[in-house]
Structure formats: structure tokens, C-alpha cells
Amino acid sequence: MNTADQYLKAIYLVQRMEDGPAATGALADMLDVSPASVNEMVGKLQDRGLVDHEKYKGATLTDDGIVRAEDALQTYCIIERFLANVLEVEDYRGEASALEAVIDDTVAERLDTIIDRREECPDCFDAEADQCCYLEVAAGESAD
């Protein structure tokens, strides 16, 4: 997943949690980057028609931005589900965040052929919990 998609996904999740525009500070916290980096990328996304940005309020995804963000969130969901249910990784959220930049969408699509994901994905993603609300984690030995 490229950096732009990671930003779009973060804006999507913050918007859901805040029920309004995604503030720069909240995005910086979620992405663990500086507010200046957020402003720079949001500006680029705005130029590409994926985000509307209002000063002092924050970023809001356009319709095109929502489509891209939902795709990115699906990819993230696949990675998280794969780590939790196939590799049985305990810290699947932390590791999914660390790995999402290295895992391409096409790779995630292949991994998707062995996991059980609902049709309504990513609507069932719980932004606060940072995971799909239907994700069940089996107790077992990790592949570590």
C-alpha cells in the first residue's frame, strides 16, 4: 500500500470516529508523522481531487477519495485478518500497521483467497478498535 493510500485510509477512519472532518493533529497521531508532513500530503491529495481541506477544520474525503480509502481499508483488513487467523500473530494490529507499506494490493488479494472476509467489508471495520468487528482471534500457538 503506498503512502497516499495510507493517508486516505487514516482520513477515512478519523472522519468516522469524529463524525466530521479529520483534523491535522489527529491524522499526525494516527500516522505517527509530523503535522507538517500531514499538511503537505493533504495538499497533494487535494490537488488530485481525493480530499477537500478546510482551514482550521480538517480534511474530508471526496467521493473518489472514499472509494480509494475503502479499497485501502479492505487491504488492511486482509493483512490484519491474515496475521491474526493464519499466522496467529498476537499483535496483529501493530504488525499490520508496520507491514501495510510493504504489502502490495495484489499480494493482499492473493492472501484474501484463504481468509474468511465478509461481503460488507470495510463497513464492518471498527475504527476505534482498529480491527474488523467480526474478527475472531483463535487462541493457539503463534508461528513466531
Binding site: 507491514l99 484463504i114 508461528a143
Partner: protein, 164 residues
């Protein structure tokens, strides 16, 4: 969430190699499922059969090379039987409808694997970290596998063109 595209630790490297091994297991298992699906059919293109058999054998070989690295990193691989069960469970929903679909599925497998190894090689090259195993050995292994995946893409494309 990290915005870096580097592989910095043994743990992260092992995890990515585990993902690679699972991808190989998926290719192997799907290839055998495809072969089983037309076991009783007549008029099966021998090129397609050979291609799938070769893909399955090559994936098994890639997997064993990855497993050796994973083991040296003190991690484990998910056993093939477990992945095979997962493929089995989802196969009915994701299997191709005809030979062309099957070839396309195979092409996606090879392209995906190529992309995965390409990204992984790039991510390791971008990192200056040292791992507990020989970094050059890891890179050599991954570059070799990547090369074989590129050849795989060509082989599938040739069969597709012959059938067109």
C-alpha cells in the same frame, strides 16, 4: 502506523518471509486443485497441465528455500496442510470457471509473487540494518526466486498466446 518501506529487524524479515512461504503454499495448493478439477475431463490442454505441475513443483522448491531462511531466524512456517485446508475452504468461491480463467489465475499468481519479492528485495536494500543471518544470502535467495517468478510470468503468457 509506519510510513516506512524498510525491513529493519529480524522479526519483520521473518514475518515477510513467512508471508512469502504462505503465498507459495497458496500457489501450490491452487495448482493441485486446478489439476484435480479436470482430472476426469477429456481434451485437457497438455500445455496447461504441464504449466500447473511445473508451478506446483517450483512453489514447493521456493517454499523450502524460504523455510531455510525462516528457520535460521528462529521462526516457523505455517505447515502446508494448514494452508491447503484454507485454500480448500475458499476454493469453491474463488476457482476459475474455465481454462482461460485458470491461466489468468496462474498469471496472477506469478505476477503477485514477482511483485512480492521485488518489493521485499527493495525494502531490504533500503534498510541498512544487519540481520542475524547473512543479509547477502537473503538478498541472493530472494533475487533468484524473483527471477524465476519473472520466467513464470513469461511461460504463462506464452501458453495464453498459443491458445488465443
Amino acid at each position: 502506523m509506519s510510513l516506512g518501506q524498510r525491513v529493519a529487524t529480524d522479526h519483520q524479515l521473518a514475518r515477510l518471509l513467512q508471508i512469502g512461504a504462505v503465498l507459495e503454499e497458496v500457489v501450490e495448493s491452487r495448482a493441485y486443485h486446478h489439476l484435480d478439477s479436470f482430472e476426469d475431463e477429456e481434451g485437457v490442454d497438455e500445455d496447461v497441465r504441464d504449466l500447473l505441475e511445473h508451478a506446483a513443483e517450483e512453489s514447493a522448491e521456493h517454499r523450502s528455500r524460504l523455510e531455510a531462511l525462516i528457520e535460521d531466524l528462529d521462526a516457523e512456517t505455517v505447515p502446508y496442510e494448514e494452508i491447503n485446508k484454507l485454500v480448500e475452504a475458499q476454493y469453491a468461491q474463488t476457482k476459475p470457471e474455465d481454462f482461460d480463467g485458470l491461466l489468468y489465475d496462474q498469471l496472477c499468481n506469478e505476477e503477485t509473487a514477482y511483485k512480492f519479492y521485488d518489493d521485499l528485495v527493495e525494502a531490504i536494500e533500503a534498510s541498512e540494518s544487519e540481520f542475524s543471518i547473512d543479509r547477502e544470502l537473503v538478498l541472493d535467495t530472494l533475487r533468484q526466486i524473483r527471477e524465476e517468478e519473472a520466467e513464470g510470468v513469461e511461460e504463462v503468457t506464452e501458453v495464453m498466446e498459443r491458445r488465443a
